[in-house]
Amino acid sequence: MSGRVAEVIKTGLWTNNAGLVQLLGLCPLLAVSTSFINGLGLGLATTLVLVASNLTVSVIREFVRPEIRIPVFVLVIASFVTAVELAMNAWFHELFRILGIFIPLIVTNCAIIGRAEAFASRQPPGLAALDGLAMGTGFTGVLVTLGAARELIGQGTLFAGAHMMFGEGARAIELQLLDGGFLLALLPPGAFLGLGLMVAAKNLVDARLQRRRSAAPAASADAAGEPA
């Protein structure tokens, strides 16, 4: 079981990352990642919906028959998204004003229905919820990394608007690191370039790990003989 847990976490965060590998949910990803805080806000909202929808879909998987499962998934996801939207409007009003249309658009994030269909509808609730958490965290990771990079390059700040999420005290961590910035990073092309570079970087790391792994057995083959 613990092997499954580790695998689910690793899959969500890295090997099958929603943003970098599946390339799902690109519309909100590219549109909202103009700053770290925007990315974090949308990422957390998406994660919340993913966990809730995965859990629900897994709990009901026994008695929802295949021919009606898609409409049921859509209903479940849409309900959770609306609930999250209302909750954000109530408790993170300023951030809600900025993220605006992209909160309701979480419904259209293919990563969510994709996980419901490909994973949650076949797995026990605990594992499904964990998968939602891992996938959501992986997606949030991409959002905040891209957001931070675009914010820093585009306007020279980091964590701008943190007070909208963490209260007035968080103004202290809103940094102005550079004077002005390179506007392209904040425009749609900057989003595509940034995401492309992140995908490339991930592939580079994977390729290097692969090389090391294929080099290692040759060196230690007679020493250990451990199964892969």
Binding site: R65, A78, L186
Partner: protein, 226 residues
Amino acid sequence: MRAEVARSMLRGAGILAGFAVFGALLVAITWESTAERIAANERAFLLRTLADVLPAGAYDNAVHEDFITVTDAALLGTRAPITVYRARLRNRPVAVVMTPVAPGGYNGPIRLLVGILADGTVSGVRVVSHRETPGLGDRIEVERDDWILDFDGRSLGQPPRERWAVRRDEGVFDQFTGATITARAVVSAVRDALIYFETHRDALFAAPAGAAELPLPLPADDEGTE
């Protein structure tokens, strides 16, 4: 066989209906428990933004309750009625906050708050909502740029009316690189609001409060009107 198919279809429909009820319940419960807070947020936001465009401490009435609605498609940017809040000190007119629309935004209308002192001077301008390009047009937001503060203290004579424009149009206001259209839309909307105020000043202050329409930034079920 046919009965079996029918039964299976009915069962599917039943399950689907069950989930529709579940979803509706979930949304209804969340709505019920957040509606009050959301309305309070909206009101607090309105009060804060109204205070932003009015001189601090210069008025003593509840501005958000002292409003009328007016309609002027040519000068206020929309055929729909817009709200005008009145600020008073001991019942004497101090300023109004108009809520005109700049129809010429790059991605759609830009909603503004324009505070105008009784003598026709701008006391402040803020953007309520817009869909301008992030990083370009959104510099009209005061959180992102000081640009919008440039209106403070200006009036129809300062600068002269023909120079109420962005620099590219031989005016006095800065434009943003890549978002001239946005700046242009806001400048003309503020100028038009001033023109409207100049022609209707006395009527705006004299009209009895609490018009038929609700104030725009508030949700439709809010209080504040009779």
